[in-house]
Symmetry: C2
Subunit: 479 residues, 2 copies
């Protein structure tokens, strides 16, 4: 059931070469790209290799296809900002108490009068998920009476079948009966923690990490052991080893790929080392794969569970970032803890709504989801690129910036001592919302950092908001 | 904001008189009832009083209206079985561990091949909620793109407005902004407990009580203090007083009306005394009002919160028992704990699906829900009556039976020593599912009791299942 890491491909080498030409300014934004035939001949590769390379460059937002005209250079060299520093949170577990702060931010983030840089939510306009809505309308018309029941507590069987089939493509051989559909990834994580920990336990997590996850820990009375995390390579394995060897880590909870807020991607080698370490110490791994389908590289990174199908891994994910935040459909799967998961789901919300699950199953079954994913990956890569450039233009020179390999958020690190809480107050006064860094830690780290969401369509207004935020940062830094 | 208890009405006296004539066999099942004019003249009451009395008798399933023909006697005298004894659970808190047993029962209960006496779920056929489905289809067609977002974490504002307006009719002056929409009543109860307790705390509850509630306590590491509960009058106030005076009760969780499984209804006097007691000891009251709209008496009993709007009460309810188990829409409201509730909701599932909430709001706004409630109340009252008669005919003479004043479940108590676990094994072998009594206690009480659900349409097959269950009980008792 295990996919070996893909060997390096010719088309990747070609894509890298062309990217280099863009970075060097040989190919400039707006220029027509060489024709596929010309590229194939000049580089002595087959036409199909050239096509694959162009597809990759399109996915990354570097090329843009124009109907009946060919390919154009869509964006220039990435800014060469230094990445954020590796984090160094305290080595002892912290009790979690972020909820009060989060509630305030979410109130601003939900307000449509504010520039939407705060919440990591894809805009409904980019998602354009009306095909799914048509399935829901049809299901409501034709199946309403039959489906006005409590579903199997695991969720609609057709949906679990579809999720199982998508997992199989990644080498995850999960039977539909070991999948439990949840109310978004939040409930999946909450259920996973209820199934593996007791109140007062310590959970090892990435740092910085998604504040919603900290809230889930807080509500369960769990302590967070924050691990040092590199902005592209992920957690510090040595620190995890030390923590696990104390015997006081009840579970480890990591992003499978593209941790929110850093966008980092651990290598398969690191993932396997983590699985091995945790297995030897009987520590369950909860993985959050919610951003896995939004990759900018050539192929979808594998979740931990696909690398080690028999390990004690609970995989959580959802459709909220890729197609349907409004449907609240997530899931959790695990080969060995099904009973505890199901009990935790009963105690959390019994079961989920029937018709939206059925509609999602129909949407997946009738195809079109992969095409949809290709489109939104391109869109998010483009947003990330444009926002990175706007940040590069407008933020203080000392600002460090993440280079996410997937997802749609950026993490900015300003010099030590910079006060993002004050930046937040000034920005809110000008109706610009963002997520201040301290939200992403259980131990009050990252006061000089912030997260910007690239989930909305790029627009002059959004660009002005980023530039204004940069100007405010200048003011504060120079005050 | 407080409705005084209704004064006794003339139509109630008339309804009671006519019920007496049915009980006495003067009016027999199938007979035409006296005309409204005749009743009005014979009893010296106005025609409108006679109409109201007949409506009450219709709601209770005693009369049935036939188009163009008048009223008929629909059911005869209730069996005069003795009610179950008052419970006497241990006076010390118990840790809760029912989940394993519950999972097994739910698997059988969800299987359509088994006679559906196990789960307290109304059948989709009785609910006949296609008007609601039409609203959902319309919302999905016209609002899909706009609503493909995370809602306000409190839920759709139109739905909260509708819930608020229904609350007002009962004297509950809850602003829409203090209501949080949840994934059914289960999530509402889970959120209420997270907002008021910490793991290890003790919660005072009715006994017997709904096993789903015990699972919610178990998942949070809470202890249950089971209170002696009278089958029609509710909990023993003196025992609650003693428990609260120890200072070790973190919260009290009670049914507002028609406790599952007993169907008991506390008087307003008792409710006020409970509120007073808890307020004096600063113990929050969580009330579960999920069955409140399914009353068989002349008027809807008031939730605790309507009797004391300023007290520390968290009201939980849902639409699952009355119109839409498949939609999973519940809510929680509280005047003073909004912040903690919202934080607990974030950590439980962030927010709920947007379109089903909007459809429910439209369904409530456009009317028809009250007519729907009248219809299903009548249906459930009739089911309870028919099942009570079938039990009376077929169960051992020593079987005691509840007389629920609302809801759609019956509680049977067999002689001390009777083994309902064995009855369950034998029944399951014959594809009959019911809920054995031990599920309803944290301290292994009620091994001689069982709950039968009357949520499905009465049918010869269902009747045979009840009779067969009675025969199995005879066999076991006489063995």
């Amino acid at each position: 059931m295990h996919n070996d890491p893909a060997p390096p491909h010719r088309y990747e080498a070609l894509a890298a070469k062309l990217t280099g030409m863009v970075d060097a300014g040989i190919l400039k934004v707006g220029m027509k790209a060489p024709s596929l035939r010309a590229v194939s001949e000049q580089n002595r590769v087959s036409l199909s290799t050239a096509i694959q390379a162009y597809r990759v460059l399109e996915d990354r937002g570097i090329l843009e296809a124009k109907p009946k005209s060919g390919f154009y250079i869509a964006r220039g060299a990435e800014p060469t900002r230094e990445g954020p520093s590796s984090s160094s949170p305290p080595s002892r577990p912290s009790p979690v108490a972020v909820s009060t702060g989060v509630a305030e931010i979410l109130e601003h983030a939900a307000n449509p009068d504010y520039a939407p840089l705060g919440c990591a939510i894809p805009s409904a306009r980019i998602l354009d998920a009306q095909a799914l809505d048509r399935h829901l309308a049809r299901c409501a018309r034709t199946l309403g009476r039959e489906y006005n029941i409590y579903t199997d507590p695991r969720g609609d069987i057709d949906l679990r079948q579809q999720i199982s089939e998508r997992g199989l493509r990644l080498g995850q051989g999960l039977a539909p009966d070991t999948i439990v559909v949840t109310c978004g990834c939040t409930e999946a994580l909450a259920v996973a923690l209820t199934a593996t920990t007791r109140p007062g336990d310590t959970v090892a997590i990435e740092s910085p990490t998604y504040f919603g996850l900290l809230q889930v820990l807080e509500a369960r009375g769990l302590k967070a052991l924050e691990l040092p995390t590199h902005p592209t390579k992920g957690i510090d394995l040595e620190r995890l080893r030390k923590a696990v060897e104390t015997g006081r880590v009840a579970a480890c909870l990591l992003s499978s790929s593209f941790n929110n807020p850093l966008g980092c991607l651990m290598s398969e080698e690191s993932k396997l080392a983590i699985i091995d370490l945790l297995s030897r110490h009987n520590v369950p791994l909860i993985e959050d794969d919610i951003y896995g389908d939004i990759y900018f590289g050539p192929s979808r990174p594998l979740p931990f569970a696909a690398l080690a199908p028999d390990a004690d891994i609970l995989t959580c994910s959802s459709f909220s970032k890729t197609v349907a935040p409004g449907y609240r459909i997530g899931w959790i799967s695990s080969s060995g803890r099904f009973k505890a998961i199901l009990e935790a789901k009963f105690a959390s919300s019994l079961c989920g709504p029937a018709l939206p699950q059925k509609a999602m199953a129909d949407f997946l079954r009738t195809g079109g989801y992969d095409k949809h994913l290709r489109r939104i990956r391109r869109h998010f890569a483009d947003n990330i690129s444009r926002m990175s450039q706007a940040i590069d233009r407008s933020f203080p020179a000392a600002t460090r910036l993440s280079s996410p390999q997937g997802g749609f958020v950026l993490w900015l690190e300003l010099p030590e001592g910079f006060d993002c809480a004050e930046l937040y107050r000034r920005a809110i006064a000008e109706r610009i919302c963002f997520a201040p860094g301290w939200l992403f830690s259980a131990s009050a780290q990252y006061a000089n950092c912030l997260r910007l969401s690239c989930g909305h369509e790029w627009s002059p207004a959004l660009e002005r908001s980023v530039e204004r935020l940069g100007a405010l940062a200048h003011e504060l830094l120079e005050a």
